[in-house]
């Protein structure tokens, strides 16, 4: 594997790094707002993956100028541009759920919500530990 291969795959690798940071934030952090930010990082990394694949060396933005030119692929641009706006709309939905969870449980930390649920179902926290085993 030469320098060209490494440079040619660097974008994809960085995308994977970003994706994994996002995924790790989602699975390892208990705070619901932090999880949503992690989900956004994951999402942006997918956008960058698509756009990186559409890039053509020496190409330019796909807006016709009348001169013969090399254009980058317009199709990923279309898919991702709509996906970004859908992303905000679904993020808003997620945040609305967080606000409702805060109203219902008075916390947005995952383990405290779990503890509150256990307490409701099994009586107290100690019984909850037994119940889970």
């Amino acid at each position: 594997m030469g320098v060209d291969d490494i440079l040619g795959l660097f974008n994809y690798w960085m995308v994977i790094v970003l994706m994994m940071i996002g995924l790790y934030t989602v699975v390892s952090r208990g705070n619901l707002v932090k999880k949503i930010v992690g989900l956004n990082i994951f999402q942006t990394s997918v956008f960058l993956l698509y756009i990186s694949m559409g890039k053509v060396t020496g190409g330019t933005a796909p807006i016709l100028t009348g001169k013969p030119e090399v254009y980058s692929n317009p199709l990923p641009h279309v898919l991702i541009l709509t996906a970004i706006v859908v992303g905000v709309a679904t993020t808003a939905l997620g945040l609305a759920l967080v606000v409702r969870i805060k109203n219902a449980y008075d916390t947005i930390e995952e383990d405290e919500i779990q503890a509150a649920d256990d307490e409701k179902e099994f009586g107290d926290a100690a019984a909850a530990e037994d119940g889970r085993r």
Binding site: L7, G8, L9, F10, N11, W13, M14, L18, M19, M20, I21, G22, L23, Y24, S28, R29, G30, N31, V33, K34, I36, V37, G38, I41, T44, L48, I51, S52, G54, K55, T57, G59, P62, I63, L64, T65, V70, Y71, S72, P74, L75, P76, H77, V78, L81, I84, V85, V88, A89, A92, L93, L95, A96, L97, V98, V99, R100, T107, I108, E109
Partner: protein, 330 residues
């Protein structure tokens, strides 16, 4: 190494560092601000990768709407994340193995920028070659978005519509009348007040330019809708929700949410009535190109309407919650 590669690598590394800082920080205010920075840096990277329309959208989203919504959520919930109580080993192993598998998967991918990659020789050449003669507008992205793949975009607009309805359903029951006149505004800040008044006009004008110039340059309904919504949101932030509701009542905004999707779908039905396929705009004008122009203008307007209305009504729903957002929250 060329300059292009240096820019590419440094922006990607900067994104990586920002993402890592977001993961490590526990002050959620800083996390939200960094996620806005993350968005703007990725917009810069998208410009570098020739995706000007996408960069435009990402910048409008990251600098404006999503940051405001997250800050509103912080004001309603809490501003600090608690320290993790569970062991972090298992998530770390899972993430590491997944990443390794994905890196292995990239090894036989076409190299970055390869003009012979499968993605470049499939339908893209047709779009690039035929846009001028079939659609007659210079921006290929708009041509593909509104005409060639109009079905996709209709689907996306419907998703935005549905998500907007979801937010309203989730938060509507909790919109309470403010007790007395507890609504806090920022209009006691002289600088904010003056600057906002000066900015709102140009922001709206720019949104209209982006909306109707989207056929010729970067832009279109999605970007214009976001920018237009920011003008209302900045007004509501500085002069208070009540004043914003007086200028644009919530009912009217909710009506517009549906109108945009209806306009998009309706244009499709008009082409039905003329005996063509759904969303085939050729019948709308005297010749094919004129019909495409009118069709794209109308559906882009529908997109802009729905996006702007969903964003404004989402903001109303968040800002109308029990605890008003006060100076200390920003």
């Amino acid at each position: 190494m060329s300059i292009a590669a240096v820019i590419d690598i440094s922006l990607l590394v900067f994104l990586g560092l920002t993402a890592f800082a977001i993961l490590k920080l526990r002050a959620l205010f800083a996390v939200v601000m960094l996620s806005s920075v993350f968005s703007l840096v990725s917009a810069a990277l998208l410009v570098h990768l020739d995706a000007v329309d996408v960069a435009f959208t990402e910048a409008a989203v990251g600098a404006g709407i999503s940051t405001v919504l997250m800050l509103a959520t912080l004001a309603l919930t809490s501003r600090r994340e608690k320290a993790p109580t569970r062991s972090q080993a298992l998530p770390l192993i899972v993430v590491f193995l997944t990443g390794l598998a994905l890196v292995y998967g990239t090894l036989d991918m076409p190299r970055f920028g390869d003009p012979q990659a499968p993605i470049q020789v499939h339908v893209a050449p047709k779009y690039i070659a035929d846009t001028q003669s079939e659609i007659g507008i210079p921006n290929i992205v708009t041509a593909v978005l509104a005409s060639y793949r109009g079905f996709d975009t209709l689907g996306e607009v419907t998703v935005i519509f549905t998500a907007g309805i979801g937010v309203l359903l989730l938060l509507a029951g909790f919109i309470r009348e403010p007790e007395g006149l507890r609504v806090q505004t920022m209009d006691h800040h002289l600088v904010l007040r003056v600057v906002t008044k000066m900015l709102i006009g140009p922001i709206m004008l720019f949104a209209l330019y982006v909306q109707f110039h989207g056929d010729f340059g970067p832009g279109g309904g999605f970007q214009a809708g976001l920018i237009f919504a920011s003008a209302f949101i900045i007004y509501a932030l500085v002069f208070g929700l009540e004043n914003a509701r007086k200028a644009v009542p919530g009912r009217a905004v909710r009506l517009l949410v549906a109108c945009g999707v209806l306009l998009y779908g309706g244009v499709g039905f008009v082409s039905f009535l003329f005996g063509k396929n759904y969303l085939n705009y050729s019948v709308l004008g005297v010749d094919q190109v004129a019909g495409q122009h009118l069709g794209i203008l109308l559906v882009e307007f529908g997109v802009g309407l729905t996006v702007a209305a969903v964003m404004v009504s989402t903001f109303y729903a968040f800002a109308g919650q029990n605890q008003p957002i006060s100076d200390e929250d920003w």
